[in-house]
Subunit: 606 residues, 2 copies
């Protein structure tokens, strides 16, 4: 047995305890001024549904006061305590905290700095469960067996079968999730555990086909530690970067094991919301058979990339070769020996160019604007290693904790943490960047040098995580051309400077529009416009126009359309934010009051 | 951060360190006498393949000396160290230890008592990995993605497909595992991770069908903490007692996720071993198509219960109703309102009687000899709770550690640890046993009062884990009759005392023979006889005749037939012992010397 002495964190711990007590007192008095006085001049309080029933970051004392006045009484937050001893380093005191609200239990991360005494620099508050609706896990796990003898016994299988038969006919899902990739699946798993009647539908024939259908050399670009789904972690023999078919098989098994109601080969053709009944009418085709679903809540988990942007170029009608958007690219098999022109220079373009070259095609990439390229191993080690790596696991960093640390960094200042990482990568891979630029590639590090992750959050585009294809460009195996496309002829692509590229195939790797495009197609343009642009932070950088939003637009939180939600993102986001979306849906299903603070305004339509 | 001071285990730790140093010195000198002098008069050294390349328990100083003299030089054990600080309690000093051998790394558990100084009472030594053949896990996990651009790229899916196509045709499995239940699957997973070419075949159409096909109310009788498979643990929302179809789905998903080469709908029809080539010739039918496989190693994982014992009774030929062995019972659905007689009073009988009663049948159980009944919740709490429970997990007991603690208790004295547990259960469930006996049920606690687990290890029969059906017997819902069956008539079963039981259905819940019966069917009777009885300890108790064996006969270890192995048991055994079987097979596949110490002699044929 090891004995643990009181650690030397007494001062930090006492500081935090005093701060929490003062904060709790201010909240109980709903005293915005008193609460704000506990925060530093530059301060950020990020709340994930525990106070605001929204994903909200307030900045500065004035906004802190406003949040407190608006939400403290209804929230009834109390019992603030530290979860482990507070620590002080470099002038910042950090504490994992727990608290309760009237309806649930919360967890957070507090950072104090000294500004005429200890003041909050950042505060993260999150709700992780609803009282009376705790998930059946650990000591509360189900028994499974029903011991005893009963002539009315219904087995697990019979219950599963009965549920599958009734769902969508005699019973309606409370939540309909359209899109069964990792986002829909993670949310489906959480809703299942929370006892919310939900249904996930997807157009493909099996869960995982979203990955199976992609180009054959594809592996995840994010490493395993970043990719876990809720509840069931990958085993420790799982590859760092899972091949697409392996992650597809995992998603399929996961869907089964987690008992997620999931309809494959099902497309939604239209949806409309009735203000009167508070209900959606969603027309779907399940394996070709039309059917009407009437959920109360509709989640679009159809891919954060949104709808394909297909350009409208003169001559597309006369071009005699194959042409398609990157999302419709069938893979390289048919193009050995063919002349292929790929328009665009981001992830999809590099991936497609690489695979075409591997299959012996003659490939030209057309770069229209600068792109940020970062090598996969550098990104993994420098960008993610502290939170998501074997070393992080060994030092006691759990996935759940890493997600909260990540969530605790306010979007407003996140780039300041990112810039030094990318400076390190630039130094580490100096030769690589020199070769790439020597080949004429127009490279950037983001508007403010903050690199890939900020580009992802701001615009969801403008970068390539290099798993090898960048070298093909650097050494000329994949040819590079520059500029906008002027027009197509029968057999070529002509650029603005007159360059003519012969082509048997043209791939438009021209990106995607906002996810509210899905809403326009499924519901109507009016609803899509009322909801507005999805994704992005309002950072006033390229493709992410201001004003500042503080959070990602419309993701995982209430929108201007009642009962309409957007969910998705990478595996990390699908895992982490599905919790808050699921709890928002559960609260509504149970009739728990969910007064939304600071429902976002719409500044951009797409 | 918490600071950890040197714990107050100094004395225990120093005692262990001294003992280990002395032990290591004795081993390096191959000095049996010196080693034996470090053991107590009553002592047990259990070795799982690290010294003996066998599962062996030596008892007493003389046997310890023999093991040391025979194996120490070849083993080259060294670097003995504690894995965590030793602890002392009730006169026993306990230490988790690690060590190395010439070919691998070991782990063990040592218990010292004071007998003119610290002497070993029990020592467990196990091998957990082979040097140079470590499993690719954690920091050594595969990369998955092959970064770079290559015109010879072979994807994960292509490699999987190529492997599946060649296995059994152009390439031969080194190991053929017959039987794809939890035993075959757990072994298949380990062999896959160790890079041994193996193939699991099973007669059912899908992995998990071994469970799906059983009676519909069946749930596992062991709780979740005892049931984990290697590598991938059940999530913490998994039920305590998994319903059969749920565990079946898990096994199917697990087989896929762990990439186990597995042929469904495949039966082995014959097998023969060539001493010359050291190779088996196994005829199989895969989905009806005949095929010859030529593995070097053949593992029978066809169910530890072995072949059904169908009695040969006068009148079975004239009986006009349905009659079948319990293993062939189709479930209760067809027998509502029918008169059903179930011969036998162990697990299968109770389960079948309960399910028949639930479906409205008129049921009589024929008890031929006494049976041990223990309530599932009592067994879980008192029998397993210390090692396998939510509380054990919370106190830091991992599955792997629990398995080693369990393995460290020598079979010879295991009953002495078990008896007090069953005394507790008898007290706790006193009313239950009184009611059961008042109904005329002939109940026992095992020959020496050591209860269910010892019956399981000794004979694999003679008990019922009550999940409800015992109450049906106690309250007369299921009728009870006693004695041997004399004969059957057209419509009844007549017992030795003349009692005549009308019957539309007779189920023979009359148990199973030894697993070497499978070898007789598949290979020949001579081989089955040479190998001898499988299972049991030689405890000289009912159905487990002496002499004392020290280990379970023929399970997971070399047999008298080269290249023939038996594997199976409950989920715990399938998990834990598959490691040692897999390492024995891996060592042979790699040509590592595996001199077997104490190959078991055969005392019983079946």
């Amino acid at each position: 047995m090891t004995q643990t002495l009181e650690p030397d964190t007494g001062t930090a711990q006492r500081t935090v305890e005093t701060w929490l007590a003062d904060f709790e007192a201010a909240l109980q008095a709903a005293d915005g001024t008193a609460a704000a006085a506990l925060f530093a001049t530059d301060c950020y309080w990020r709340d994930l549904i525990s106070f605001s029933w929204n994903l909200t970051t307030v900045e500065g004392r004035e906004q802190v006061a406003d949040l407190v006045v608006a939400t403290a009484s209804a929230t009834g937050a109390c019992r603030f305590a530290t979860e482990e001893p507070a620590e002080e380093a470099d002038g910042v005191t950090t504490a994992w905290i727990t608290f309760e609200t009237a309806v649930g239990r919360g967890r957070g991360l507090l950072r104090l700095i000294d500004e005429d005494g200890p003041k909050a620099w950042t505060l993260l508050t999150t709700l992780h469960e609803l009282k009376g609706h705790e998930e059946p896990r650990g000591t509360a796990r189900p028994m499974g067996a029903e011991h005893g003898a009963s002539r009315d016994r219904v087995t697990w299988l019979e219950r599963q079968q009965a549920e599958a038969e009734s769902l969508g006919s005699t019973t309606q899902p409370y939540v309909l999730v359209i899109g069964g990739g990792q986002g829909g699946i993670a949310l489906g798993a959480r809703l299942r555990q929370l006892g919310v009647t939900a249904l996930v539908i997807d157009k493909h024939s099996r869960p995982g086909d979203q990955w199976r259908g992609r180009y054959k050399s594809l592996c995840l670009h994010d490493p395993v530690w970043y990719d876990h789904l809720p509840y069931l972690k990958f085993p420790d023999n799982w590859p760092v970067f899972a091949p697409k078919d392996k992650i597809a098989d995992w998603l399929e098994s996961y869907t089964k094991v987690m008992e997620i109601p999931y309809w494959s080969s099902t497309t939604a053709t239209s949806a409309s919301y009735s203000q009167e009944t508070g209900e959606w009418t969603v027309e779907v085709e399940r394996e070709g058979r039309p059917l009407t679903l009437r959920p109360k809540q509709l989640v679009l988990a159809t891919g954060m990339s949104g709808k394909p942007n297909l350009p409208d170029l003169p001559g597309m009608d006369v071009f005699r070769g194959d042409q398609h958007h990157s999302s419709a690219h069938p893979g390289p098999d048919a193009y050995a020996g063919k002349k292929c022109v790929v328009i665009g220079s981001n992830n999809s373009s590099f991936d497609i160019c690489g695979a075409l070259w591997e299959h012996g095609a003659d490939v030209t990439m057309v770069q229209r604007s600068s792109t940020h390229v970062v090598r996969s191993d550098s990104l993994m080690e420098i960008g993610l290693g502290a939170l998501y790596s074997e070393e992080a696991v060994a030092s006691g960093m759990t996935t759940e904790k890493a997600d909260l640390v990540f969530a605790s960094l306010p979007y407003r200042i996140m780039h300041t943490f990112q810039i030094p990482l990318y400076e390190q990568m630039a130094e580490r891979d100096k030769d690589f960047y020199q070769r790439l630029e020597a080949a004429g590639f127009d490279h950037d590090w983001g508007d403010d040098g903050s690199g890939l992750f900020m580009k992802y959050l701001r615009r969801g585009s403008g970068y390539y995580i290099d798993v090898g294809a960048a070298d093909l460009v650097a050494n000329g195996d994949v040819k590079l051309a520059h500029g906008q496309v002027d027009h197509l002829t029968e057999h070529s692509v002509v650029l603005a400077d007159g360059t003519e590229l012969e082509a048997d195939l043209v791939v438009y790797a021209t990106g995607y529009g906002s996810m509210n495009g899905w809403a326009a197609d499924l519901i109507d343009q009016g609803t899509a416009d009322r909801v507005g642009k999805v994704w992005g932070l309002g950072s006033d950088t390229t493709k992410d126009p201001g004003p500042w939003e503080g959070e990602q637009r419309n993701m995982w939180k209430p929108t201007q359309q009642e009962g309409l939600w957007f969910h998705g993102g990478n595996l990390h986001q699908s895992r982490h934010y599905s919790l808050y979306l699921a709890l928002q849906l559960k609260a509504r299903a149970e009739g728990i009051a969910t007064p939304v603070y600071g429902l976002q305004e719409v500044h951009h339509l797409r």
